[in-house]
Symmetry: C2
Subunit: 569 residues, 2 copies
């Protein structure tokens, strides 16, 4: 039973589910659904796809996530970052030449889902650790800039030339300029911005409960869509002023389909799918953790892989685009009072009603309104201030962050992420290859040993107490050897070298071989090598070798105090 609950977390909360929970979830579900409709249409257009793919992605995938996911408030569905990654994958020449973006998208979703399930099977949830926060921030900021660049022209009806984003034939842009479109965009932006902080502050001041405030302020996207659509209909803007609209959206529930399976595009799309899976997983877990921490709930990375994998497979089979947890939507869901994934089940139900009955209403939504919604939604993801903070705190991380951002902008999305990961690992290796090494002495009248450069300490002229502040491995043993040799040359009176292993958590094969050489060289010149305060796991490993035997007359001391007592006595 407990095993079943592990794999179907929905059982855990359904057991104690009550009327009050349902009321909360119903309210949150409606609010989230109201947000999902314009987001679904906007993000599928952002990905270069027909509008219905975002709507389909809002029905079955969140339902699957509700069954398998460990987050109670994560809102799985179409997200902007995944949308721009899909756009990038579809614009590759080999793929766009095939001329079937809908099928390619289904394959991307299926592959992402399968990759996540495979990762779950191999218990690779820890892979989330490969992407550091700076790389993630650099990536989302870069992707946000790409999205902004792709949406700004839509505000004034400018056409993106067929030659694509990165080729520089931007002069065609100006030809499509449309004053009416720009007017609608500015109106939409005003509503969206005013309904954000300004209105919330006002409503809170007049004493409305915060869930109601959230509900009202989060209706802004739907309101702008509504006003925009009404304006198009009433003034016949589409035909008279050439305002671009969404166009026909097929009605009815998507047909479950497996007929994308027999296809050769699979191999071509696999690398993009892998990146989408990685980012979808990492972003979703990061967002899920934010709300889980606030309520003391627990996110299980491997189970998240299963849930997101199932959600993406469901997206593939129901004609939707790849999905992930969305930051803004999850926050809205949480702020509106969602207690469990029932809220998302309700939202999915409402979406399916919308798909069956209301698609004709979507036809005249002006694209410029959707662009405005995307722009306002994307702004919080552009975290340039964070980059400054990171740069100040840790230079290596700062470089990784900036290079990831620039990589995304200059070379492309997947290249940017790869660059960031490589740089993080390189900086990690570089740091551990130049470890902090302190020569220590005893703080008088204590058993405490600290750096001679930072504290007033007692030292002994025949004794070199060296604290190595890092595990000793192939990447730093040469640095350590050089340090010791330099010290011994400066202090010829040294008779005993004591390596303090408080910070040494592992000694690898390379390091052990070099330590044996160092010991041999010290013995040849009549000195001894000693070890002090080695931790259990390190001692266990050393005892498997004859290193401790080789040290004699050097010794392994339990504490620095023991070492000083014996070697100076």
């Amino acid at each position: 039973m407990s095993r079943l609950t592990n794999y179907l977390p929905i059982i855990a909360w359904l057991k104690t589910y009550n009327r009050q929970d349902f009321n909360d979830d119903l309210f949150a579900g409606i609010i989230t659904a109201i947000l999902l409709v314009p987001q679904g249409i906007a993000y599928s257009i952002l990905a270069g796809l027909p509008p219905e793919l975002g709507l389909y992605a809002s029905i079955l995938p969140p339902t699957l996530y509700a069954l398998f996911g460990t987050s109670r408030t994560l809102s799985v569905g179409p997200v902007s970052i995944a949308a721009i990654m899909i756009a990038s994958a579809l614009s590759a020449p080999e793929i766009s030449a095939l001329g079937n973006p809908v099928q390619s998208t289904a394959i991307l979703a299926a592959e992402s889902g399968l990759i996540m399930l495979l990762m779950a099977l191999l218990r690779m949830g820890g892979l989330v650790n490969l992407i550091s926060h700076p790389v993630l921030t650099g990536f989302t900021s870069g992707a946000s800039l790409l999205i902004i660049a792709s949406q700004l022209p839509h505000l004034a009806g400018l056409k993106i030339p067929a030659c694509g984003l990165n080729t520089g034939c931007y002069r065609d842009y100006v030809q499509g300029f449309n004053g009416v479109t720009l007017g609608i965009a500015l109106a939409a932006l005003s509503i969206l911005i005013l309904f954000g902080k300004p209105l919330s502050t006002l409503l809170k001041k007049i004493g409305l409960p915060s869930s109601i405030v959230t509900a009202i302020s989060k209706c802004a996207p739907l309101l702008t869509v509504l006003f925009g659509t009404l304006a198009v209909n009433y003034f016949n803007l589409q035909n008279q002023y050439h305002v671009a609209v969404v166009g026909q959206v097929p009605s009815g529930f998507p047909i479950l389909s497996l007929n994308f399976i027999h296809n050769e595009q699979w191999r071509l799309l696999l690398p993009s799918a892998a990146f989408i899976a990685l980012i979808a997983y990492v972003e979703s877990v990061a967002i899920a953790k934010v709300t889980a921490n606030l309520r003391g709930e627990k996110i299980l990375p491997n189970q998240e892989l299963i849930a997101l994998g199932a959600a993406n497979l469901a997206a593939a089979m129901s004609g939707g685009m790849p999905v992930a947890g969305g930051f803004s939507r999850t926050m809205v869901n949480f702020a509106a009072g969602a207690k469990t994934q029932m809220a998302m089940l309700i939202a999915a139900g409402l979406l399916s009603v919308a798909v069956i009955f209301f698609t004709p209403w979507f036809e005249n939504i002006p694209k410029t309104v959707l662009a405005a919604i995307i722009l306002v939604a994307i702004m919080p993801l552009l975290r340039l201030k964070d980059i400054v903070h990171t740069w100040r705190y840790d230079r290596g991380d700062g470089i990784a962050e900036v290079m990831t951002l620039l990589g995304v902008l200059i070379f492309g999305i997947e290249e940017g992420i790869s660059l960031g990961i490589v740089l993080t690992i390189a900086s990690h290796l570089r740091k551990s290859s130049r470890p902090h090494i302190a020569i220590v002495g005893r703080i008088p009248d204590t058993e405490h040993f600290r750096n001679i450069k930072r504290h007033q300490v007692e030292t002994w002229h025949s004794l070199l107490l060296v604290r190595i502040d890092e595990s000793i491995t192939f990447s730093n043993i040469n640095f350590i050897e050089d340090f010791l040799n330099a010290e011994l040359k400066q202090q010829p009176s040294i008779k005993h070298v004591v390596l303090i292993f408080t910070s040494v958590n592992d000694i690898d094969t390379t390091a052990l071989e070099v330590l044996e050489n160092i010991n041999h060289a010290l013995q040849t010149s009549g000195k001894t090598l000693n070890i002090s305060e080695a931790k259990g796991p390190v001692m266990d490993k050393l005892k498997k070798t004859d290193f401790i035997e080789q040290l004699k007359p050097g010794k392994v001391f339990f504490t620095n105090v023991d070492a000083v007592k014996e070697l100076t006595g």
Copy 2:
């Protein structure tokens, strides 16, 4: 002046050079030259090149190394591992199609030299740290097996079929079988093996000085070559029994040439040259360190890059093959009493005499004798016992070692090295992503805190003292968070969490953000987060942020004793 000595280490030892040094170097130089002639011819044939390329590589390159190198005993010249790497590069279809292996070899040497000089310019000597000993051992063992496989057929005159090593058309082998060739090989192997350990032991027993013993035992290769050549000449074996011989070797000093420069092969050969440069550098420094440690001398990695780079450029310009420091030859040079690089200058001088006057003598050297010499020389590089040791001591290193060996055998030399490097880094990351974490208590009546699982210690029920045995980074902060959450769930009485930072040498951006979240969550549930025994560099970094401010009422304690006193008081 001191700067000049840095760049030309030869000046340092020339200043104090005396008659006794010269006598020692003269003796060692003659012995090394005696070894260099058969090795030079054998290794160029192993590389699939005309015999003179190995001889040329023994003249100018060691001379350049003598000027710039920091090792006094390293013998730079043709080596077996580089030879098999050259063979592998030349056998690539695009290269072998060009039909000019001599020119390709010159380009490989030039590129390797330039890469080393570039690395020196960028002060990338530390790159040697990228290759761990297990990867190096796995690689040399794998390459040795490849060399053995390529030489065994020569012992019996079997022909390597034109289709290459890895394609399985081995049935043509049997056709070339030659009993006389096999007989010569067996005789050569007997001499080589008997002149090794057995003869040395005997000679030492009768009281000969060890340098003379070395000299006699190291003449074995020359003796076998001499006997083999005499047998071919006397019995006309070449024509009567089809015993394969070296063939004509052009006479005279190689012409300095730069005419390989204008060529399109450069791009094709670059990856192979990079691997040759990397391995030549890493192997040479490793060998140089062995002898330097025994005499208390110092090897400067960056200067070695300059010296080896210059040596390889010299090889390219004088028609030789790429060079590196050779293990067996360096050991012979050292054991024969070489004091400085003068020994190698003398050896190079002798080699140029050989090239000018004695090349006709090399024509009738039976190839089977050279194969026997290679086989005996390569055996010590096949360190299968080391692999067992590594496997027992450190599983991650063991896997890297075995996979590198298998990678070299199955996928090829460059692929094997790459695989090894990637696996070492992955295992490094994996280790640091699952750090050792100990809950500690105080050993009664001391200021010493140790793991509650391994020692009898005092603990306090409202206090959780956690020692994290690793720098806190993106790769392990999630693991640490999970550990803390699990402990807090098990022990609800905990009021204060103290993170002991004795082993924490760095906290990166990702880790800091998560620590802030952990602190926030603890505060929300009325607990505090504290830090104890943080090291200077870590505190310096934290002070740049408001993290310490955020901790309040949690604190940073100088020692664990202070923390216990205040938090339990």
